[in-house]
Symmetry: C2
């Protein structure tokens, strides 16, 4: 009897989870030995993390035990941290073990992009994981609690800087602006003491979005007290706040860094050819020169040929890639040579602004306000449906629409 092929999936993010869920529903789990590796025994929805970071949602709601969706009788699970891939040896080095593979799927996700700006790692927070957003929430609350205890009030405790007015930065400051009145009430702070800054180096907030939608979003956020500093690069993050280009300083005890992401550093450490940690994959999602390595999610670079620029790394694309990778892995296991080409099907993009506000594009239609907010929640629920069906939607979904 021929030995079963070993499939190893690195990372239980959007891509890894959907892929594992697909494989356990197909014949692959019988014909091959599948192993899923992840740092935690839970999966979380990265795109929801701005909510627990601001404290408007409990972090528990953004995560699920992996075994609540993946059947560990069909797919083995290893809780460990990936250090390096050795593609020549078909081996993955984990912190506590090594794994051999015949087919590898890299779904390791992204890391914050700092553009080499000094002080980011030391002094800024990132919206990255359940662990990191719990710290942001508690840090914000601790600042509010400390303010009134001081004899000499330190206003930097109540000054919050969100670096980057892209998708995540806007979604986070939207949630935070909704939470501030509650925090003021809870900690006896006059609302006007709290300052919220959205600082963006590019010439516009929400680059890539339609101008009209950008203006709508800025109006909503400004009405809640957000001050925009657009076209304003940050030159340094310090223990006291940020120094902007031109020399202006804003004193703040809380800088949240959301200026975009790069691929996982494991990619570079493993010697794959990459750009900012992302591998420009073949049409079938394999790494060039590595017939046994698929890359999905934030570490896969795919060019949008219409505009000759990379697609931004989103959950939507990661999920679609997982479907293609599942089909292609099944084909390989069945000994087929013809693999499917990945074609992104961008259904739309909606950014929530906190409360019942959102903006975005669905198909070719612009949406904003409460209807966009409902669409956003449907998008989030749809993912849960793909992953675990209606039971998961009912358990973890966003069910308050109005």
């Amino acid at each position: 009897m021929k030995q079963k092929q070993k499939i190893v999936i690195l990372g239980a993010g959007y891509g890894g989870m959907i892929l594992a869920a697909r494989l356990q529903k197909s014949t692959v789990y019988r014909d091959a030995q599948i192993t899923l590796v992840n740092k935690h025994n839970y999966h979380y929805q990265t795109t929801w993390l701005h909510e627990p970071a601001a404290g408007t949602m409990h972090p528990e709601k953004t995560r699920m035990k992996i075994d609540s969706v993946i059947d560990f009788n069909k797919i083995s699970f290893v809780k460990d941290t990936v250090l390096e891939v050795k593609p020549e040896e078909r081996k993955v080095v984990l912190e506590n073990a090594e794994l051999d593979y015949d087919i590898l799927v890299v779904g390791l996700g992204s890391e914050p992009e700092t553009f080499g700006i000094p002080g980011v790692h030391e002094h800024a927070f990132a919206i990255r994981s359940v662990n990191s957003v719990r710290v942001i929430r508690e840090h914000i609350e601790y600042n509010f609690a400390n303010y009134n205890k001081q004899d000499e009030k330190d206003d930097s405790l109540l000054t919050f800087i969100v670096a980057g007015a892209g998708f995540t930065g806007i979604e986070f400051i939207g949630e935070l602006s909704e939470r501030i009145p509650e925090l003021c009430e809870e900690y006896d702070i006059p609302r006007e003491k709290v300052k919220l800054y959205s600082v963006e180096a590019a010439p516009t907030a929400l680059p890539g979005f339609d101008e009209e939608l950008v203006e709508y979003a800025m109006n909503v956020l400004e009405s809640r007290g957000v001050e925009f500093k657009i076209n304003t690069p940050i030159e340094e993050v310090t223990a006291q706040g940020v120094r902007l280009k031109g020399g202006e300083e804003i004193h703040s005890n809380t800088v949240v860094w959301t200026t975009g992401v790069r691929g996982n550093s494991v990619i570079e450490k493993s010697g794959f050819e990459s750009m900012r940690g992302r591998i420009k994959v073949e049409k079938d999602l394999r790494a060039p020169g590595h017939e046994d390595v698929f890359v999905i999610g934030d570490c896969a670079l795919i060019i949008n040929e219409e505009i000759n620029r990379p697609y931004p790394p989103t959950a939507q694309i990661a999920i679609q890639q997982a479907y293609t990778a599942a089909n292609n892995i099944k084909a390989l296991i069945e000994g087929k040579k013809d693999l499917e080409a990945f074609k992104p099907d961008i259904k739309g993009t909606v950014a929530s602004l906190g409360g019942k506000e959102a903006i975005g594009v669905v198909g070719s239609r612009k949406v904003y306000g409460n209807s966009a907010s409902v669409v956003k929640k449907m998008i989030d629920n749809r993912y849960l449906f793909l992953l675990g069906g209606m039971p998961l939607v009912l358990k973890k979904g966003k069910l308050k629409f109005f």
Copy 2:
């Protein structure tokens, strides 16, 4: 027409609130001009503060707007901080104003007693006010949140030292020991990582309590993971934790100081004769040599002649003193010379241990376990009843008995 006499009450604690409530129910508010001075526009129940400090009760529940109980048409309210009394000039100096008085009532409450141990002010927390306990709660949660975010785990984040195993220290560590399992669940921390120390310089925990009750309390708390270090003076509090007598150090990011209280420093600043900030009052509660100054609550020192030691400052005594002071002020306003002597009527003392556990003495009976816990809640509710009747009990009372 004769000018109305001016009565000024300093502090809206247990004593000041009950006194103001009594005076507005008598004829005094018509015959005199009464002013209540307090730092905040709210009153809080100091004896409940260990609960919001541990996070087992919302701080909102421990406080009430002063005007929800005191009618500001009958009693004027000044929100300000008392700096000094000038008894020779019959004047009170506030941060933003000065007030003249004909009759003064000092109900300013206590301050933490540090016994001159170095580092307490700089590095330890005190259970003192709504502002201070919100910081303790948030500090604890921030430690839990930070633990898992660190690459190298710092166990001092999960080590909690309560200095003092007296009434407040035991009540606080009791609540905290109840909260720890919840925090472990919330922040993915194994329970055995968390260390709770109760450190006491005296040869016993809960000095003054019956031995059998002390043992019951220690057993309950030890079963929840509290480690006692009795007969162990703390020599210094540092940024790293505490240094005990003999040299042992415990590394901790959280030291809560509960080794007892002294009278308010305003007493000494104002030149009153005092012992550790407390004035040994006459039988009618007036300060010796000051016929126009009453002292109630934690700044009043009264000797228990049975044992020739001062009564410990408690809410119970402050409330009873407020009744006597109200009667005596009414008598003075009516031109009478014969004032009532204050006689403490100690009905009992119950210390809660968190959850449904408590120990104490009611009358001459020892109580412990759930029945003591029910008694404790009835004591807390009785105060609310005295202050604002059943409506206040229903709004702010402890109504979950079982």
